[in-house]
Symmetry: C2
């Protein structure tokens, strides 16, 4: 069960709207601030997709949704919120302005999470004059309403209590919080993604493969492994009975072979953008983005369910968490249903007497 | 249906044995050469695991297995083979010796695939004095009997015909061949893996996270995405209706941010090996390697089946291929069963007459 009943989301883009969806589908009221006049429509579309995915997870019905309201100012949005998630664009000056505002007007006990993919909380805290200790990075992965991972990162001024509160809070809405031990730019997830992304750009730029071929290499190969075990556990198994030391001894030397171009950075110019965008169209423009979103979400639910059936039904990895989460949501849905039924019964009773 | 009936596997380690398993489970006879006196036992263990996984895929029964024989020399192993897969350790001098031997004794029409993870075929071909044109790299991913991906790479002397034959051959045993357009060291898959691996080593070395935390970040996060769509398609969706150009414009600049340590290489020393091996033990030593292998294989089958049920049962990505592969194997299993039944009926007929 969620540890909160009222949250605020500052920023309603793809990530912000994903948070809104996860929160309201857990029965939490959310007040949104986003200056975009189209915010309402955009959030509505993400929420539609999220509802669709949750219906697949919970065929017997969803919990009563939290209420969504829109505020005209950040001050109004955060008033009375127990938790505020900031998801504005990745510009430090903007983060500063927004966090200063949030800090001034939020209840002192409220936890503030930032969705930043890479800015260190220590660099954001100077803007918070009142209670910087309650700021954590809570870095989610798209789609936020389905992918369980959230990286929690504290800054120099963050209190241990705030990290613990954030961990409990994110876990209470079905997520897998991983607390990062030392603060660095881009944390862990995006450091790994960035390494991969750069190498991928080289491979496309040099004409070694197309974006579709590269994607196929991922999804017919190591992607299937990483949905269930990470890199280290998978390599441990590959090392065989001799284990991790053997694996390291065998593959360690590759580190000094010319197996990567990552010693420098590909120039990010129009030519590269054109090449990738054109190849991406060839790969995917037979589907609209909305269709691809549905496909992605259906696949995610199916993969997590499949992992949930493993280990004699106890589940493995994200599947074990998925089982616990859907169970929790089903429980949350039931009392609502039961009370509706009870009310109906009450309403019908006099009629029966009459009949 | 497989395009061949008789293959040779040179090298019976984890990868070589994985090839043996995939081949014999497709009904293909395999002759193995491996100087390791324990090769028989080791191959047997991999085969046991593979059979177990295929039984999950094919509850109604497996095709009749190909016959396994062991040869005392490479010459004996390749005699009469239509296809030879080389999976010896990654040392160029060894590859040269082995490929020279294979080339001398294999039937001229036989295709030769090398399992190398990174050596360019052009660098291996000089050892082949007779028919270097039929050498391709056929780089698989562990476990070979389950993961569909195989990267096909031709060298300067490789004929277009050999590449096409190899593509058809690998596809005929349920694999997803991706032909790499230009020959580079480590091809595509291992370039990406190496980029990720280096960054991961930095993160562990610097104490940002443990191997278990890093693995969790993968399997509760982007690993779930990459089992179904690759990096480019996933980012296209994340870019929203504005598409890939928008995504590139938004995230391109990160390339010059300090989001990665990959500008140099972590020193590969005993300290790093110890750190990683110790953390890996903490993460995984509650399971034996054999247990982890079973868990991994069960999960892989479950994920591919889950993807196979998508798209109104047509399947998505590896799931679509999985549907076709299991169908093909089931068909291969049936005639065997049917003929057994027919033989039984024949054998029983006279008895009936007597009775």
């Amino acid at each position: 069960m969620s540890t909160i009943t009222k949250a605020a989301c500052i920023g309603g883009g793809v990530i912000g709207a994903g948070w809104v969806a996860r929160l309201v589908l857990n029965g939490i009221d959310v007040c949104i601030y986003d200056p975009d006049p189209e915010a309402d429509r955009k959030v509505g579309e993400v929420l539609k997709g999220a509802r669709r995915a949750y219906r697949k997870m919970l065929p017997d019905g969803l919990p009563k949704e939290g209420k969504i309201t829109y505020a005209k100012t950040i001050a109004d949005a955060v008033a009375g919120a127990q938790f505020i998630q900031e998801s504005v664009p990745e510009r430090l000056d903007l983060k500063h302005r927004v966090l200063a505002e949030i800090d001034t007007h939020a209840p002192p006990a409220a936890i503030i999470g930032s969705s930043t993919s890479g800015i260190k909380p220590t660099d954001m805290q100077p803007a918070m004059k009142k209670h910087p200790g309650r700021l954590v990075v809570g870095h989610p992965f798209n789609p936020v309403y389905l992918l369980p991972l959230v990286e929690i990162v504290g800054g120099e001024q963050t209190s241990a209590e705030a990290v613990e509160k954030a961990r409990t809070l994110y876990a209470s809405i079905g997520m897998k919080p991983v607390v990062i031990r030392k603060e660095i730019e881009a944390f862990v997830g995006d450091r790994l993604l960035e390494a991969m992304w750069r190498e991928a750009l080289w491979l496309i730029k040099d004409g070694i493969c197309t974006v579709e071929e590269l994607d196929d290499i991922m999804r017919y190969g190591f992607g299937l492994r990483w949905a269930q075990m990470g890199m280290f556990q998978i390599y441990r198994v590959a090392g065989g009975e001799a284990g991790m030391r053997h694996f390291m001894a065998q593959f360690g030397p590759c580190l000094s072979w010319p197996w990567t171009k990552l010693m420098d950075v590909p120039e990010f110019n129009d030519e590269l953008v054109d090449l990738i965008a054109t190849q991406s169209d060839e790969q995917s423009d037979r589907w609209s983005i909305r269709e691809l979103e549905k496909i992605r979400d259906d696949n995610l639910v199916a993969i997590m369910e499949a992992l949930g059936r493993q280990n004699k039904g106890k589940g493995w990895g994200a599947g074990e968490l998925h089982n616990a989460y859907t169970k929790q949501l089903a429980k949350l849905a039931k009392p609502a249903k039961a009370s509706v039924a009870a009310e109906k019964a009450k309403a019908e009773k006099p009629k029966k007497k009459k009949g």
